[in-house]
Symmetry: C2
Subunit: 438 residues, 2 copies
């Protein structure tokens, strides 16, 4: 029965001091403030937060960091496709393992991996047609991070005037051909102790719209769905001209806009879309550091939250892997939109970073330091160059991933004093890149 | 004659490899690419950049990091005034020394310190009326960072309907009463090997506008001037209603808008202001991470540059001290404004981070790795968790201050392998805060 003694801990009731946390079989069984450490306690100095949920990740994009900041859109696509061509079950495993380790090091304890690189580079299924998804599960288990695998249907490349555009050859490996084959394939994937299996629709432009209702029907037992929504201005224009409906309305018409749905980006929305999403029970995942890097725009986060949407956060293409940068991004984007400080309370920001992401990824009740929640923790030092002088309760707005000293998933230590048992994360990354570029 | 051998170096002609840099009396005397390291060279692995210029700093704000992220505007003012009340020559020195050391650690080699805390907490001059400014000079010399001291005139607290509002008691220490006394005081400050003395006007609302022409006249020999401009929407409204002129026009009318002037923030400008500033020869300092934190807004950076303004960067209130965060902020803010990537070239971004700041702070020709420039360097590792996999030429967009391993100022090592000879920067900060709060 592991126990931790935290100098400061972010509890649902606020920041408490001298907090003893006990877990059994990966679940928190006791939380007591104003205690003294006892023999055998793991001491966590600084501020211990619920572990962060990275609610939207494409692990393989980590290989593009620092390689797309010059040139043009086509240089970027070439760099992406050069990486994709080298992705096979071995390289995908190595890259995901290194990327998930980078996440754990930064304080993430859960990742929602949006996965569409299913088949071999020519689009033929591997002998095990789920071998790429299983590589992601293996990577998460090797690292010790909790995973929700969001296996994504992706069969067309949007629309032009004459109808759906087929996938280019480089994207042939995304497609199972039709929803039945897709769903049959992913139904062979089974949950594990720290893995949930969800499903995803890449976006409303990635499948013919007449399939959406069928996808809704076949996934009624699937607890988590994810789709990219309104990342680009053009998406709504395309669906409006084609169907007279916004992307959010198309999802709603098909019965896909409900508590199970996690909408990613949700930037270019009108007031009616925001109201629709707010009352639907769907969650919204913003990816501030990625959206900045891509120039996607700033979501109307406060409006979405006020309409009823539960906001969570993700790193998407991993320009940065740092839950505090996302949390801060959510708040400062809103400050930039409104010219006013303090748009979200610190409790709302930590909930977006942790509890809301856990719920949206199928781990309801997680992302909190409370009895019954998964024992997933992240501790930051308050004595780094960056955090020195901060009040514990303000630290989430000024800390960074490099301030994380410990992470715990399901009661097991993952990062201890900034180190992972698999080795230096730098080395894991270097090995993965060598395999990719070798 | 110190020499460095850099694995990669950011030269005016682009990124070069295997670069040997030689300096004499603090100035670069030779730069040779495709060399082999020689006995005695200091080896700099990774990417060596010209050291960064922090073109706008108020060092004492470092004490507020992590203490203003909840509450309201008045909580924030109280926290600020609590710090200010404890500022005396000793605490100001300790706090500036720790803050400047944090800058050096992050890759800054030059700081422009905007200084207005001149007198004792009751507004009485100290026995040496420049003792607070001398504390800043001492702090910079202790750290080994280059300094331009921008001593600021600040005599009123803006305007209300009936005229100028006097400074509140808590701000009495800012004022010398009138420009003649202010300028007489600062004329006693003399430049030193790595210190320049400039002047500042806090903003056009901080002195009666009829003084501006006189200030221009008395500062004709001063090589660097700085003022906050258009940080808030209200500033232009105030000057327009009072004088029918925008803040930029008031500066221009007074003869203050020329090559010597460094305008800080420059956010809420109209097209005519941007054209005026662009053709004036003035520089513009943006502070992206601070402006995000304060909710000031996003400057029209590309428009300002296209109009002719030379852009540089500063950390202002030190929500973060990281030149790469500022450089990236300049670019991503523009991406968010336009929904397009790659708004500035990487050369433009590095120039904004280094050369333009050097010129604007009175060190023309600096901030470049070139013969004749001050030997001010900053090296980042390309093998950290953050930078692993990056192309050297893209690294400035993805690196962070924590990736800096070495900084050199005037040919002298300041940071070596992430360490400063004064001790751990965390400890310098902790000592300064203990003095302030003790």
């Amino acid at each position: 029965m592991p126990t931790w003694w935290a100098e400061n801990a972010w509890l649902p009731s606020g920041v408490a001091h001298d907090v003893r946390i006990t877990a059994k079989q990966g679940v928190i069984t006791e939380v007591a403030a104003r205690t003294r450490p006892a023999t055998g306690d793991v001491i966590l100095m600084g501020l211990t937060l619920p572990g962060a949920a990275n609610a939207h990740s494409h692990a393989y994009y980590r290989a593009l960091r620092g390689r797309t900041q010059a040139g043009n859109f086509w240089t970027w696509q070439e760099a992406r496709q050069a990486v994709m061509r080298r992705l096979n079950p071995d390289t995908y495993l190595a890259l995901a393992r290194a990327t998930f380790a980078e996440m754990a090091l930064a304080g993430y304890t859960l990742v929602g991996e949006h996965h569409y690189i299913h088949h071999d580079p020519d689009g033929r299924p591997y002998d095990d047609p789920n071998i790429m998804g299983r590589a992601l599960i293996q990577a998460a288990e090797d690292v010790g991070i909790r995973l929700t695998l969001l296996d994504s249907i992706y069969t067309i490349e949007g629309y032009d005037g004459s109808g759906p555009r087929p996938l280019p050859a480089a994207h042939a490996r995304f497609s199972d051909g039709d929803p039945v084959k897709w769903f049959e394939r992913i139904s062979a994937l089974k949950p594990r102790a720290t893995t949930r299996i969800g499903a995803a629709i890449h976006s409303v432009l990635s499948v013919p719209p007449e399939w959406l209702a069928g996808i809704a029907e076949m996934t009624t037992e699937t607890s988590v769905l994810q789709t990219h929504l309104a990342q680009h201005l053009g998406e709504a224009a395309a669906t409006l001209s084609m169907r007279g409906r916004t992307p959010a309305q198309l999802l709603d018409d098909a019965g896909l806009l409900d508590e199970r749905m996690l909408l990613v980006h949700a930037i270019h929305l009108d007031d009616a879309d925001i109201a629709l999403i707010g009352r639907s029970g769907a969650s919204v995942c913003l990816c501030p550091t990625s959206e900045r890097d891509l120039g996607d725009g700033i979501a109307r986060a406060r409006d979405l939250a006020d309409a009823g949407a539960s906001l969570c956060l993700g790193t998407d293409q991993h320009a940065i892997i740092d839950p505090f940068a996302e949390l801060r991004g959510l708040e400062v984007n809103e400050r930039l939109r409104t010219n006013e400080r303090l748009q979200f309370s610190l409790d709302e920001l930590v909930a977006a970073s942790s509890a809301h992401g856990y719920t949206a990824l199928g781990w309801a009740g997680g992302g909190r330091i409370a009895v019954g929640a998964p024992a997933d923790l992240a501790t930051i030092t308050l004595e780094s160059v960056r955090t020195m002088g901060s009040k514990p309760a303000h630290a989430p707005m000024i800390a960074m991933g490099y301030d994380v000293t410990h992470t715990v998933v399901a009661g097991r230590p993952v990062i201890v004093e900034g180190r992972h048992p698999l080795g230096r994360v730098e080395d894991l990354l270097a090995e993965a890149f060598a395999m990719l570029r070798g």
